[in-house]
Structure formats: structure tokens, C-alpha cells
């Protein structure tokens, strides 16, 4: 057995850290999916009539659609009728303030390293904590509201700010966009809502922490971020789930709207349960994320560190509508064991002088398959559009795969589009070199991988970057022998 393979054998022996679950009494929808279930969810959330109608319309659209099969991922057909579409811990019932959140729920988050107590929290990060189908609490709401910033659960926004929700919901990702987005539009339960008013620079990082706890339940959250003219916000998303033998579906939708001169930075550290070493269990992460740079000189930047999920199907994208708008996508995707990831981005250049930058770093180990899929589209009126794409793949061992699927569609002759791609292996030479300096193989892999992913990790906010580095090392731990 070569050294690489031995590394992998050990690497695959690492257990998932957040695999625990707790027994919570839950308020659940019956299993299955039909109009009655949607009415049930909507009623449970005491939604206005227009939203119910919107959901039903989405559902009827969804019925006419078929599951996408073009991605380079393989999994048994999901029995969508066998899932539960709503599960809320009973104790989550509408806390008026953070003090009213049930201690048991607080404990779940504390165990994950997320303290919802504002005094104890690091200053500078406001959190919305979403457990299964509901938001259990949002911190720093008052501090933020003094600046006119709205940061709350999606359900709350539906009641408190219906005009904003109505205006923007589905404006970036239409309900008919794709199979999973349509499904989400029909059954979405909760998520975060954020509005940054004109000219305001959000003084702290806003973040949502998603946790799936209940078994056999799909999580369909919806996030909507609106940055009004000249505003700025940095938004973080983290996710974990218990270790279960069956697969669980997570089909979220994130929509970002950036008005003139606005800037939104969206960072994700995705650490859903990836399944066990033999490929059993794990989250199916089928997510639609898209932002529109609606106004001139606006900017949307996606940064993702993807380490979890059994199957990932995710393409955070930017529609560059405003002139001089900028779209960025920085990604590190790590797959190990039997994980499959098909992830990338779409940059749609519509406005003049729009620019986009794509940096994708794939790391494959074990028997995993890691695909980058990206589209760069330059429309007719997008004069002087620029794109630079860099897609690197790092392979560990000889049983994994790395794939790159770039699609480039240029309709304007003034466009400049560059695509660079590399594939490399962690060499025995590199490992031996590190060993010879007294560095253990495990730390050598962490060092090499972090070096490789540095350009992307540098994009993350400080606290997140440290966490992401640790996570990368953890995911690949033992991969060196």
C-alpha cells in the first residue's frame, strides 16, 4: 500500500464531531407532501393569505417539474412523500426575548459552541439560531434596530415587515427556478431575514446557525438579505446535523439583493453530517443561492468552505445587472470517504463593465467525487465584462475523483474571460519534506491543505477563518500515515 493510501485509511477514521442529537418534544407536521400539508405549515405559522397562495402556486409548479439529473452525483431516489416537512421543538414557542428561550434549546447551541447570551457572546457577531424548522432566537436585535437594520427570523419578518418580504421574496430565485427551489418555495419553514437601510454599514457580522435535530425531517429554510443603496453587510452561515443512518434532505434558498453601491459578503462554513465511512447516511444538501447586483457599482461576494454533506449540489451565483457591479465566488470544497460534491457558481454579466472573479479549490480524498461546475455568461449589452476563473483540484490517494465543468457563453465581443485550472496531488515528497523537519504527517497534510486553500480562507472573517482552518484539518485528519 502506498503512503498516500495509508494516509487515507487513517484519514477516513475520523469521526464527525457534531453527530449527537437530543430528544426534544416537537410540534410536527404529518409525514407526506400535499396541499393540505402546505396549508398546515402556513396555518401553523399564522401566515397571511398572500403567502399561502404563493406557496400553493410554487407547489403546483413543482408538481410539473422533474428532479435535475445533470449533476455529477449519484444517490438513490429520495422519497419526498416519506419525509416530514415541519418539525419545531415545542419549547421554541415564540420567545419574546432571549431570556425567554428555553434553556434546553440554549444548551444545544452552547454545545455547538454558539452562545446565544449577548453578554457572553463575542461582540461583533449577531446570531439567528435555526433549529429544524424554526428560529429559536436572534441576538443583538435591539442594537441593530437602532441603526434601522432588521435582523430577525423569516417568520417574524413576514409579520413585522410584510411589504419588504412581499417585494423581494422570489425576486432573485423565482419559485419556478428549479426543482428544489420550487419545493422550498412551497414548504419553507424558517430562516433569516435581513435588511440594511440606505447608507448603513452594518457594524457587526450577522450570522445564522442552522442545526438539524429531528430525524426523518427535511430542512427547508429561506434566507433573504436586502442591502439598500450604499450599505454594507457581512453575513455568515454555519451548519451541523446529527449523525443518522438515513439520509436527510436540506433544500434551502438564499436570496441576496444589492442596490446601488451596496456590498454584501456572504460566507458559509458548511459542516453537515457527511455520512459514515461506508457512505451510509449523511445530508443531501441541495441548495439554491443567488444574489443580484441590481444597482450600479454594487458587489456580492460568496465565500464557502464545504466540508460536510453526503451529496452537495450548490451553485451560489451572481446576476450582475448594475453597471460596474462585481461578483465574487471563493470556494473550498473538501470531500472524503464516499462524499460527492457538485458545486460551483454562475456569473451572469448583464450590465456594462461588470467584473467577476471565481476561485475554486477542490480537495478530494477517500472514494469521494468532487466536481466544479461553473458558468460565465456575458450578455449582449454587457460591454467590457471581465471574468477571471481559477479552478484547482487537489487529490489525495488514487480512489477519488476531481472534475471540472466550466461553461462559458459570451455574446459580447468586448468581453475578457480567463479560465485557469490545475490538478495536483499531495506528493509523498512534500510529506516527507515536512516529516524530515519534525512535522507529523497529520499536521503536514493540514499545513499543505491550508496553504492550498489560503486564497479562499483569507476571504473569511477572522473568527470564521480560524474555525475553517481547524475544520479542514479535522476533515482530513489521519489522512497521512
Amino acid at each position: 500500500m502506498s503512503k498516500d493510501n495509508k494516509i487515507l485509511e487513517e484519514l477516513t477514521s475520523k469521526d464527525y464531531e457534531h453527530g449527537w442529537s437530543v430528544n426534544l418534544e416537537a410540534d410536527e407536521a404529518p409525514i407526506g407532501l400535499n396541499e393540505d400539508i402546505i396549508r398546515w405549515i402556513s396555518a401553523k405559522k399564522e401566515e397571511p393569505e398572500w403567502l399561502l397562495e404563493w406557496r400553493l402556486k410554487a407547489f403546483n409548479n413543482w408538481l410539473t417539474m422533474t428532479e435535475p439529473v445533470w449533476a455529477n452525483v449519484h444517490y438513490p431516489k429520495i422519497d419526498l412523500q416519506g419525509l416530514r416537512y415541519y418539525s419545531a421543538p415545542k419549547k421554541s414557542n415564540k420567545p419574546k426575548s432571549l431570556d425567554e428561550i428555553d434553556p434546553e434549546l440554549l444548551q444545544i447551541y452552547e454545545r455547538l459552541g454558539i452562545n446565544l447570551n449577548e453578554q457572553k457572546r463575542l461582540q461583533g457577531i449577531a446570531v439567528d439560531a435555526v433549529l429544524d424548522s424554526v428560529s429559536v432566537g436572534t441576538t443583538f436585535k435591539e442594537t441593530l434596530s437602532k441603526l434601522g437594520i432588521i435582523f430577525c427570523s423569516f417568520s417574524e419578518a413576514v409579520h413585522e415587515h410584510p411589504e419588504l418580504v412581499k417585494k423581494y421574496l422570489g425576486s432573485v430565485v423565482p419559485m419556478t427556478d428549479n426543482y428544489y427551489a420550487a419545493l422550498n418555495s412551497a414548504v419553507f419553514s424558517d430562516g433569516s431575514f435581513c435588511y440594511i437601510p440606505t447608507g448603513v454599514r452594518c457594524p457587526m457580522e450577522l450570522s445564522t446557525y442552522f442545526r438539524i435535530n429531528a430525524a426523518n425531517t427535511g430542512q427547508f429554510e429561506r434566507t433573504l438579505i436586502i442591502a439598500d443603496e450604499g450599505s454594507y453587510v457581512s453575513y455568515l452561515e454555519g451548519c451541523t446535523a446529527p449523525q443518522r443512518d438515513e439520509n436527510q434532505l436540506h433544500a434551502a434558498v438564499v436570496e441576496i439583493y444589492a442596490a446601488k453601491n451596496a456590498e454584501v459578503k456572504y460566507s458559509t462554513v458548511q459542516n453537515w453530517y457527511p455520512g459514515d465511512k461506508s457512505g451510509k447516511g449523511g445530508i443531501y444538501n441541495f441548495v439554491t443561492k443567488r444574489g443580484i447586483c441590481a444597482g450600479d457599482h454594487s458587489k456580492i461576494s460568496w465565500t464557502q468552505v464545504e466540508t460536510g454533506s453526503a451529496v452537495t449540489w450548490k451553485y451560489p451565483s451572481c446576476i450582475l445587472k448594475g453597471d460596474y457591479s462585481i461578483g465574487e465566488f471563493y470556494s473550498v470544497a473538501v470531500t472524503n470517504n464516499y462524499q460527492q460534491a457538485d458545486t460551483g457558481t454562475k456569473m451572469i454579466h448583464i450590465g456594462k463593465n461588470t467584473r467577476s472573479r471565481i476561485v475554486s479549490k477542490g480537495i478530494s480524498a477517500g472514494r469521494s467525487q468532487n466536481s466544479y461546475r461553473g458558468q460565465v455568461q456575458v450578455m449582449k449589452r454587457a460591454s467590457n465584462a471581465r471574468n477571471f476563473s481559477q479552478c484547482d483540484s487537489l487529490l489525495m490517494g488514487d480512489r477519488c475523483g476531481a472534475h471540472t465543468f466550466p461553461y462559458i457563453d459570451i455574446q459580447n465581443p468586448t468581453a475578457k474571460v480567463e479560465h485557469e485550472a490545475t490538478t495536483s496531488k499531495i506528493g509523498e515528497d512534500q510529506l516527507f519534506y515536512c516529516n524530515q523537519r519534525g512535522i507529523s504527517t497529520e499536521d503536514a497534510v493540514a499545513l499543505i491543505v491550508n496553504g492550498y486553500a489560503k486564497e479562499v480562507l483569507n476571504q473569511l472573517p477572522m473568527e470564521f477563518a480560524v474555525e475553517a482552518q481547524k475544520l479542514l484539518a479535522l476533515t482530513l485528519e489521519g489522512s497521512v500515515g
Binding site: D429, Q430, F432, C434, Q436, G438, I439, D443, A453
Partner: protein, 253 residues
């Protein structure tokens, strides 16, 4: 300090080392010379623990420990340093960051507390002078885009930082111009002490003008066929290796 007895090693079934015997004491500098393909670099790699080579016979004792039983990283932590002939590139990892990881892992093994950033930098500054290396080079990705001379200088800098007991220089002179050779050799000489030993693996005598050996050994066909002092190196420089080959071949007929 180092005692090699009847060492045999092969790669993919092909024997390369066929019974090496060598004793190295503290304070000594040994030069290993020999024609291409004689097994010089293999010896260096086997001592450092490179896995491709299989040791089929013999023993190596380093400071009372069975070296061959130790993992490569533990050999390094015990004080064995190899200056590579072809140092590898590690993109995105600066020399500083790399060395900090290395130094602290070595210190941990030796039961010493980790150096904090400030202390580490001050040690680094001090060692930088030894090999006349520029700080800018150290913040760049390790060996990436370095010239041949910069890579070798960086190796010696790492040696200075790790303070090994036994340093093995594998063809450190290859690809160096005369100025770089002088700087690298100066660094090595300054690091020498009566508690440390150096094995210099080289094809040419030229390096030995700068790093003066106490003993010179000629490796041919996987064995040390001749040992002597600095004068042997001069003789080799003058006459080449053919006369050695002839001697050995004549003896074996």
C-alpha cells in the same frame, strides 16, 4: 554518535546499498563522495527515513537509539537533519509558518515549551544573519519560485533553526554559483560544534574547499570502497573516479 553497520537497502527490489559501514563521532565532518549512481543520495535518504527505500539488512544506531525503528519525523526530532538536494515547494505556506510548526513540534518532542510568536521571531532574526537570508524570502511560499541558490540557502537556514545534532547535506553544492556556495558553506561552518556532526554528500571536491572534512569516503556500487582524509578528495578531483573503479573491479576478479 552515528554507527552504520552492514547497511543494505533496495528500491523496488533493486539493491542500491550493499553493506555500508560508517562511524561518525561528535565534532566530525565526513564527506561521502563517489560517481553518479553509486548510492550517495540513497544513503542520505535511508538515514532520513524515506519510505521508498527498503532496508534489507544491517543496523543504524544514532545516539544509542535504533534509527531505523523511528518514523522520519521522530528521527528529525531526535536531531537528524537532511538538507535536500531538491527541496520541495509548498504553495501557500510561508517558510516562517512552516518552520514555526516544525520548531514547535520538535520542541514538544523534547519536552520544551512552544516558542511564542515574539520569541520565535527573535530567534529567527538571529539565525537569518548566519546564512545571510532576506526576511522577504521567508514570508514567501516555501521554495515556490526560489532560485537554486535561494532554495539551498533556505535549507541551511532551516538547519540553523532546528539545531540538529547530525546534519546530512545532500549535494548542497549542486546548482550553486561560487558566491552562493561560499555563503552556504559559511553558514554550515558557523553551525558546527564539538557536539554536532556533519555528513557532506557531494560529487565534487569544490565544496570541500569550504567545508573541510575530517574524513573522506568513496562510495561505489553501494559500498564504501576507500576512506581517507582531505587529500583523498584532492586526488579524486585530479584523477577522477575511474582509478577507484578499476581498483575495485580488479580486486573483485
Amino acid at each position: 554518535m552515528l554507527s552504520i553497520k552492514n547497511l543494505h537497502a533496495s528500491i523496488e527490489g533493486t539493491p542500491i546499498l550493499r553493506g555500508i559501514n560508517l562511524e561518525v563521532k561528535a565534532g566530525e565532518v565526513h564527506a561521502i563522495m563517489g560517481p553518479n549512481g553509486s548510492g550517495k543520495s540513497t544513503l542520505a535518504s535511508v538515514l532520513a527515513g524515506r519510505e521508498e527505500y527498503e532496508v534489507t539488512e544491517g543496523e543504524v544506531v544514532f545516539q544509542g537509539k535504533d534509527l531505523l525503528e523511528l518514523a522520519p519525523e521522530d528521527r528529525a526530532r531526535e536531531g537528524v537533519f537532511l538538507a535536500f538536494q531538491y527541496p520541495v515547494e509548498i504553495p501557500g505556506v510561508s517558510t516562517t509558518n512552516f518552520l514555526r510548526t516544525a520548531v514547535n513540534q520538535v520542541r514538544e518532542y523534547r519536552g520544551l515549551p512552544a516558542l511564542d510568536a515574539v520569541k520565535f521571531l527573535s530567534v529567527m532574526k538571529e539565525k537569518m544573519k548566519l546564512v545571510e537570508i532576506d526576511q522577504k524570502l521567508l514570508s514567501r511560499s516555501l521554495n515556490e519560485g526560489f532560485s537554486g541558490g535561494e532554495k539551498k540557502r533556505n535549507e541551511i537556514f532551516q538547519m540553523a533553526m532546528l539545531e540538529p545534532t547530525l546534519s546530512i547535506l545532500d549535494e548542497t553544492d549542486s546548482g550553486l554559483d561560487i558566491d552562493a556556495l561560499r555563503i552556504v558553506s559559511n553558514g554550515v561552518n558557523k553551525l558546527k560544534s564539538d557536539k554536532t556532526a556533519t555528513i557532506v554528500v557531494t560529487h565534487y571536491q569544490r565544496l570541500l574547499d569550504y567545508i573541510v572534512p575530517d574524513y573522506v569516503h568513496v562510495l561505489y556500487n553501494g559500498r564504501i570502497v576507500k576512506s581517507g582524509t582531505k587529500e583523498l578528495a584532492m586526488e579524486l578531483e585530479e584523477k577522477g573516479y575511474d582509478w577507484i573503479k578499476e581498483e575495485v573491479n580488479a580486486a573483485s576478479v
